[in-house]
Symmetry: none
Subunit: 205 residues, 4 copies
DNA sequence: TATGAATGAGTTTTCATTCAT
DNA sequence: GATGAATGAAAACTCATTCAT
């Protein structure tokens, strides 16, 4: 693959992402994306085979990019309050980059196109796994671990996240998502205390 | 409106719902819905003005129907464990009727069609209000009330619900949603205990 | 035909005329006209058989109405300057009533629908005949009569009229039509003089 | 633009013109035009964006073509009798090419589609300007110039032309238009004499 | 690699008209 | 006479995709 080609692929991926956030999943057509990329429509099919594949490639790109960033920021975090702080920053990055909306559009959009469901779901599982990792670290050895399976917890976290984003996108404003974040921050000490006490209980038992 | 017309409107609404669950939001075209209803395509426009309006009417129909049912079942519930039990039944009804998928498709689908966002969101607010009512009853006078605003709680509940449904729809199986339900059931006594103890604190103060 | 029916027919004819002036020939659909008349669409077909027939009936109505008025005003006119004065008033009435635009829309519109051509043309011939009558009176016995056939003159007059109206309608303002009227008024004495001198010549020869 | 594309555009423009003359403005649909051009319907939108744009492009094409021809033929003409001779030939060309009917259909048709009015009118102004130029040359320095503004004269000429064409198209035969031409030819010497004498007056004054 | 042109199936919507009541 | 419902054909336009160059 020559440089030009890589450049074009890149332009298309970026354009797909932008189109997804600006026109929604159903507005992300070959024409619109190619126009955004200032590139010939046919190149989408040349490089990606189909619009769906480009969209998935775009999802891959953001997803990997962001997952790496999430990994590095959340690597050493063990307390819920630290988690909330870090998530706050990461979330803000997601907003600024616009990638959060693109991903939400893909997830919601894919649910309306049976053919895309499986492939989009596959791209969500790394996130669930990552959530399991982070949450596992946080609740392992606490009583919480005995009450809820970490799998459930991870699934719930990701589901919660997409639910918030879906409603946020519908409403067109982030006020309520933001309010939830602040509620999380306020609750953080309590959660940490519970986890703390819980681990005592665990140890004692 | 004559009987025939009411019948046709009904057929169309039901067909829209069914098409939404079977072909997804983006497969819910005038043609598909009319075929499902075994009715002339043009009748969609005669009775509803546009496909979008039919879809919204369908959403209205289910939404009102289900909200009434939720109201009557959750009217006298004050304990979390009772809530989980009742929700379990209601949720199973939702699944059997297929309405749950239709609503999820509309909510997710609308997010990809800017023109629909506001109108679908409007139809979600009664649910948020209802959640506020039920959760408010459950939490009022407890320490939880002091830690999280009931508005946030209600929004979070609805968001959580749609998040679960979106991932469930992507995955094409309800296993994880079901697992969460059971986790909820297991947690219920703890939650009730917390709410209980919390209200003591409230009373003591 | 009962009173109600006559009333409905009338409403429809008036609505057709109004729709023609407000939405143009191609905007004069059964739906639009019925809406304007606040009447059921099907009544158009009940009373007139087809939209085209309603449109023709409307053309008939205005045409007869106006032709009668033109006849009475131009009955005793022999001088071109008097003709210009009278026409000025009649034309202003045509504008105010909006009928002029309706007729222009019918004539122009019919030219784009082969099936209507003959029937609209038939409705124009009384006007050509009337023009022949008036102009005949004015030029008979003058040299003009020897130079141009009155048939040509009448046809030219009506053609000129519709040409002006077509361009006026395109432009959306009557300024140039008005300017032509004033030019006509300024020329009138000259024309009258020519007709006068011409008749001398005619008598002398 | 490649050769193939130019060819297709050309075919479409020619087909639009032909369809306009054969089926009238309201029969000039995407389907009909594409069929006439033996070309895929979608190409109309690919190349012209909309049916209206194709129709306008067709109008442009004929109009520019014919205007150039009119310009070259009428460049050195100063006498009315010469004008009539030249116009006779040009008009016959217009008839043979069929372009005259197409233009008339566009002008009349546009009057029924508010959205087209302005754009068609714009395409008529070069003709009015050209008429002003030719008539100005003919009339300047004569008494006619003092009696009628050249703007009025030019507008009148074009209006007259379209009026004749509209009635001709309605009637489906050119007999009366032809008769008018011959009347013009018979009147030409008189008109030239008037213009002549008029210029004496002008010089004397 | 890239491009402009082309394709055919699909979309929503509107049309005139008919029909049963 | 009048109405609401229904119909089938047709409208303009967009879609993802392919093809020749």
């Amino acid at each position: 693959m020559g440089k030009a080609a890589a450049g074009t692929r890149d332009r298309l991926v970026r354009a797909a992402l932008k189109t997804l956030t600006q026109h929604g999943f159903s507005g992300a057509t070959a024409r619109t994306i190619a126009a955004e990329a200032r590139v010939n429509q046919a190149l989408i099919f040349y490089h990606f085979g189909s619009v769906d594949h480009l969209l998935l490639a775009a999802l891959d790109a953001t997803s990997e990019d962001r997952l790496a960033r999430y990994r590095s920021w959340l690597a050493d975090i063990n307390k819920f309050s630290d988690l909330v702080d870090a998530m706050d920053r990461l979330y803000k990055e997601d907003i600024v980059s616009g990638h959060i909306t693109a991903v939400q559009e893909m997830v919601a959009g894919a649910s309306s196109v049976p053919a895309l469901r499986r492939q989009v779901l596959e791209r969500m599982t790394p996130w669930v796994a990552f959530a399991r990792e982070v949450l596992g670290r946080m609740v392992s050895g606490t009583v919480v671990e005995k009450m809820v399976s970490i799998d459930d917890l991870a699934f719930a976290a990701v589901a919660f996240y997409f639910g918030i984003e879906t409603l946020t996108n519908l409403a067109g404003d982030r006020a309520q998502a933001q309010a939830l974040f602040e509620a999380g921050r306020r609750l953080a000490p309590v959660v940490d205390a519970v986890l703390q006490s819980a681990s005592w209980v665990g140890e004692t038992a």
